[in-house]
């Protein structure tokens, strides 16, 4: 790992259907919260990184123009970074490199999406090329369902067992969301509710799927010198990884998911982690679909291939388990896409700095955050620690 870089503040909006604010106002809400958390002013910022999923989701392109004033950063250098659903993690990585390069001491990183102003599934269908894939792709669920079927078949996972485990994943995320003041969906659900919910694309049901949310998240990165001066308890970046695979869905093996596996490996190498299940205290896994969350556990080395459901049934990843995952309620309960990956990072920072409130995992020191994007194509990971 190169130069130490810290995170000194985070800010989130109240995520949900935000009819009360315009898109720039939503962005500003997160930015102002981050400034307050870090105890600095907009003048202290040397540069800003901004991004959405695709800009076009809300009918405005290159949104950094529109948000220049909302970001409080007129007259400053800006970088717009976007990698589809993994945007949030890519934004964070850019914030790290900006500070680590020495080109700036304090960098503001902002992710945002106001999904109720657009048609997200229509947008996602146009991620596919117009000639081959767009004709049969049906937004995000179609792709993720194909992946989960492939995974169950490949590892000979009993469908009923996977169904039971996925339902537990849904229940625990929905329960966790009640501890998170920013979360969007707050409903109590039972395993039976999940199993009898409306089918979206078999076997994925309504309660296996994330919502559309409006929301923004801001994270402030600082050099070691500045962080020590400004912040009593910063979080330190320990490892990062980002990988992408082929554009054509059929070309890669999504049941072992090389991009997820390799991104994690890269981040672990950088952070010096050998046994993630043992060493990590908490993980914020990007989980727009319950089944997919279990595939991530396997790719990230939390459990052996094909055993994700068994570990879930054992309670390994729920609150109080060996490695609590998504104590925030995760993507499953809150998904403003361009912000979602950055919310994962912000939540992991709150955990290692002891600021996570009711969702705090006792004594968390080392946390993983993650985001996924494209047609199951991209995975980005950041590992933060309470120690330098």
């Amino acid at each position: 790992m190169g130069k130490p870089v810290a995170i000194i503040g985070t800010g989130q909006t109240n995520h949900g259907r935000r009819r009360d604010v315009s898109y720039p106002e939503l962005v500003r809400e997160a930015v102002v919260a981050a400034f307050e958390d870090a105890g600095i002013t907009p003048q202290d910022i040397d540069g800003v990184v901004s991004g959405t999923m695709p800009s076009m989701m809300e009918g405005i392109s290159l949104t950094h123009f529109y948000f220049a004033d909302a970001l409080c950063q007129v007259g400053k250098p800006i970088l717009k970074v976007e990698t589809c659903g993994s945007t949030g993690q890519s934004l964070g990585h850019c914030g790290y490199y900006w500070v680590a390069s020495g080109m700036g001491d304090i960098v503001l990183v902002v992710g945002h999406e106001k999904m109720h102003e657009g048609d997200s599934q229509a947008t996602m269908t146009t991620v596919f090329d117009p000639f081959f894939q767009q004709t049969f792709a049906a937004g995000a669920p179609g792709i993720f369902t194909m992946q989960c079927m492939e995974w169950m078949y490949r590892f000979n996972i009993d469908e009923q067992k996977a169904r039971e485990a996925a339902a537990l994943v849904s229940v625990s995320n929905h329960d966790n969301a009640f501890d998170n003041p920013y979360a969007h969906i707050k409903i109590r659900v039972t395993v039976d509710d999940v199993k009898s919910a409306k089918v979206i694309t078999y076997p994925v049901r309504l309660l296996d799927v994330c919502p559309n949310s409006d929301g923004a998240c801001a994270v402030i990165f600082a050099s070691e010198e500045k962080a020590k001066k400004i912040c009593k308890k910063p979080a330190w970046i320990k490892g990062m990884g980002f990988r992408g695979e082929e554009f054509f869905f059929g070309e890669s093996d999504k049941s072992v998911w090389p991009s997820a596996t390799e991104a994690a490996k890269e981040a672990y190498n950088m952070a010096g982690i050998r046994d993630p299940l043992k060493e990590l205290d908490v993980a914020e896994v990007y989980n727009p679909f319950t089944y997919q969350e279990m595939i991530f556990y396997e790719c990230f080395g939390f459990c052996p291939r094909g055993e994700g459901p068994d570990y879930v049934l054992k309670g390994t990843f729920k609150k109080g388990g060996k490695l609590p995952c998504d104590p925030s309620g995760g993507t499953l309960c809150t998904n403003p896409i361009g912000a979602t990956g950055l919310i994962r990072l912000a939540e992991s920072v709150l955990q290692v700095t002891g600021k996570a409130g009711d969702r705090q995992v006792e004594g968390a020191k080392l946390a993983l955050s993650h985001a996924m994007g494209g047609t199951d194509q991209f995975n980005g990971i950041t590992i933060v620690s309470s120690e330098l």
Partner: protein
């Protein structure tokens, strides 16, 4: 700060390509690697500069771009604009984490709607879009104000077209090949008063790749490294009505770049400039704000001939954006052209003088809302 150099470059021509975008991208990215004798496996990181809506109607363009740029299962990312991608790639090297980064910017304008169908989507849907704001209408307002405040004439603005399209005749990669006179420009149809058709940039295809390397590594890849010396970027208010369109953020961006590069007198120290001028008059205005001439002196600058190919401070010897406008990639094209001039390898559009320090500039947004300035040195 760790030094970063350009090790190799490749660019496509701006005319319509028959290749699919993926093949088109691959060809140029591969050429940049080949020139440095590198394989994809040896590159540390891949950086993409591309944009969703300017890219054949695909959302999340990095999804499609990933294969052609050579990023499969490699560390990488994507920025929405090519100079953003360039500087982010430089930051990755400066951080010490990577020794090489391949930056590729791509767009296939021939498969997209008109520029302004795209730029009108910069406008918010409530105030600016209903009044028909796009980059051309915003530029027209800026030009009117520029002519009024500083007594710049239409002839002086038209001279930029005559100069740049004249230069483009010698640039094999340029899209527009047309010898035009000042009269041709002034008698071409008005597109958005006072802007004439010939004063507005075309819409081009364009894939451009740059292989960046650390100081330790670059010696193995080339004997003519071109060094990044300075960078500055600044963004202005969104609503054009909140801004003085003739006193924008380019000054801030330039000041930052000059400070980093240790330049105190840009007029003397810059040997050649590649400036992003999607509208002819903007070359004059940007020259003022870059400190290449005094305030309000853009007209005199073009009249004096110093910015011609054989002048003392040539501007856009490649023909600039007026001759070739691959919207997303155009900033990185300026960097590549500036670097070619430093290497003395620009071919028939190589300037007559020795080039040690060159400036590359990129801008996007209404009337230049966001500017980037890059200083390169041999």
């Amino acid at each position: 700060m760790r030094r970063v150099a350009i090790a190799s470059m490749a660019q496509s021509s701006g005319g319509e390509s028959r290749d699919s975008l993926m093949d088109f991208t691959f060809r140029v990215a591969k050429e940049a690697l080949d020139k440095a004798g590198m394989t994809r496996d040896e590159v540390g990181c891949i950086m993409i500069g591309s944009s969703d809506i300017f890219h054949s109607g695909l959302s999340c363009s990095n999804s499609f771009d990933w294969d052609g740029t050579g990023a499969f299962l490699k560390e990488g990312s994507r920025a929405e604009e090519s100079i953003f991608a360039f500087i982010y790639a430089c930051m990755r090297i400066m951080s010490g984490q990577f020794d090489t980064v391949l930056v590729t910017s791509l767009v296939k304008g021939s498969e997209n709607p008109d520029n302004d169908a795209c730029t009108s989507f910069f406008a918010d849907p409530f105030y600016l879009r209903p009044v028909g704001m796009n980059e051309t209408t915003a530029a027209a307002m800026q030009m009117r104000e520029y002519m009024w405040r500083y007594s710049i004439t239409e002839e002086q603005c038209a001279k930029v077209v005559e100069k740049n399209l004249g230069n483009a005749l010698y640039n094999p990669y340029a899209h527009i090949k047309k010898k035009v006179t000042i009269d041709d420009v002034l008698s071409s149809p008005t597109i958005s008063d006072p802007l004439k058709v010939l004063e507005c940039a075309p819409k081009s295809d364009g894939v451009v790749s740059v292989l960046l390397a650390s100081e330790e590594k670059v010696g193995e890849l080339t004997n003519r490294p071109v060094w990044l010396k300075g960078y500055g970027c600044s963004i202005d208010h969104f609503y054009p009505g909140d801004r003085d369109l003739l006193d924008g953020e380019l000054k801030t961006a330039a000041a930052a770049a000059y400070k980093m590069a240790g330049i105190t007198d840009p007029k003397k120290e810059i040997d050649v400039a590649e400036i992003c001028e999607p509208y002819a008059f903007q070359e004059l205005l940007w020259c003022e704000q870059l400190g290449l001439c005094g305030e309000g002196e853009g007209g005199t600058l073009i009249d004096s001939g110093v910015t011609r190919m054989n002048g003392t401070l040539p501007v856009n010897p490649s023909g600039g954006v007026l001759a070739m406008n691959p919207y997303v990639s155009r900033g990185l094209y300026r960097i590549v052209e500036a670097a070619l001039q430093i290497r003395g390898r620009a071919g028939e559009h190589q300037v007559d003088k020795d080039v040690k320090t060159a400036l590359a500039h990129g801008t996007q947004g209404f009337a230049g809302q966001c500017h980037s300035v890059v200083i390169l040195e041999g």
